[in-house]
Assembly symmetry: C2
Homo-oligomer: 188 residues x 2
């Protein structure tokens, strides 16, 4: 039995949801407060400004990224497959946070982009430690990026889709097979 999330957490969650579902334009302070079931004053009690709200989201993303790095480093399938596997949106809280932040990344906010750059660099280092060939490592990363960005732009599937249609849904298993072949070729 989880305790009721604090108002601060609800605000951050509502901000994410609005960013994902309706885009940055719709994620106004009023809208976020309403979605969080909090008054505007209440929101501004926890986050002094919209900038601070965004900074809160970025902090959350960084924290979650650290946990992700640890999981990635010790995944039995290797970092490359871990990365691709988890890039297919699975509905984890980390996924949502990333996609929300991604929606913010094309704005004027350079702190979001900077955070992404750093997280990206760490992912690359981990994948490069798994797959030694830099080109293949880069290709794997780009593949994962493509998955994330598609999710960010074209909406997150409610289900963890398993069919591969030309409509954009992706068969994770077969993609992982492709990554496997790329990786084994590079390691050989």
């Amino acid at each position: 039995m989880t305790t009721q999330p604090s108002a601060r957490e609800r605000v951050l969650q509502a901000y994410e949801d609005l960013l994902i579902n309706d885009g940055p334009r719709a994620a106004t302070l009023d809208a976020v407060a309403a979605a969080a079931g909090v008054s505007k004053g209440g929101l501004l009690y926890h986050f002094k400004s919209k900038e601070a709200l965004t900074a809160g989201l970025v902090d959350k993303m960084r924290e979650m990224a650290e946990l992700d790095f640890a999981l990635m480093a010790k995944d039995p399938d290797g970092c490359a497959k871990y990365y691709v596997r988890t890039s297919v949106f699975g509905g984890t809280t980390f996924d949502r946070t990333i996609v929300a932040a991604m929606r913010l990344a094309q704005g004027d906010d350079s702190t979001v982009r900077a955070a992404f750059s750093e997280i990206h660099a760490s992912w690359y280092r981990l994948i490069l430690g798994d797959i030694k060939d830099p080109s293949v490592a880069r290709a794997v990363m780009l593949l994962g990026d493509g998955l994330y960005y598609n999710a960010a732009l074209f909406g997150l599937p409610a289900h963890a889709g398993n069919d591969a249609g030309p409509d954009g849904s992706v068969d994770v298993q077969s993609l992982l097979g492709v990554v496997d072949r790329m990786a084994s070729g590079a390691r050989a």
Copy 2:
């Protein structure tokens, strides 16, 4: 000797430039008009609303996509390599239009997303015609998507970068090599 571009064309161009360089928030009607060397009234003479301005950009993108499909279909290196090769931002007008539209895609405007979906689907069909394996075709597309999205979010390099650093710049040649190996494995 080219004739002076019309005001309408200049407006569309300025809209693209602002979207790419400063993001959707900065691409206000006033800013676009000023960048195009046109008054706000003049802009609104050609495009009745901001929505119409976006629609103009989408139309332009669709037209350019048709030309791209034709080039892609008859590229001697095959559709897959063509796609990855041209996904690395080369500064072509089509690249700029796509990246500009991409910056708009996370907004409320569903028409932009719809256009992207259709163009994406066509690209996928062409790549699938080249590489028969759907998984590999999908992987190649995602790789190209990653390249485009990275360009859209983290700025377009002024130069056609040739070095592969962990900073995100990509060595096109070695990536194409990876694609080659994936493709030949799939075709075999």
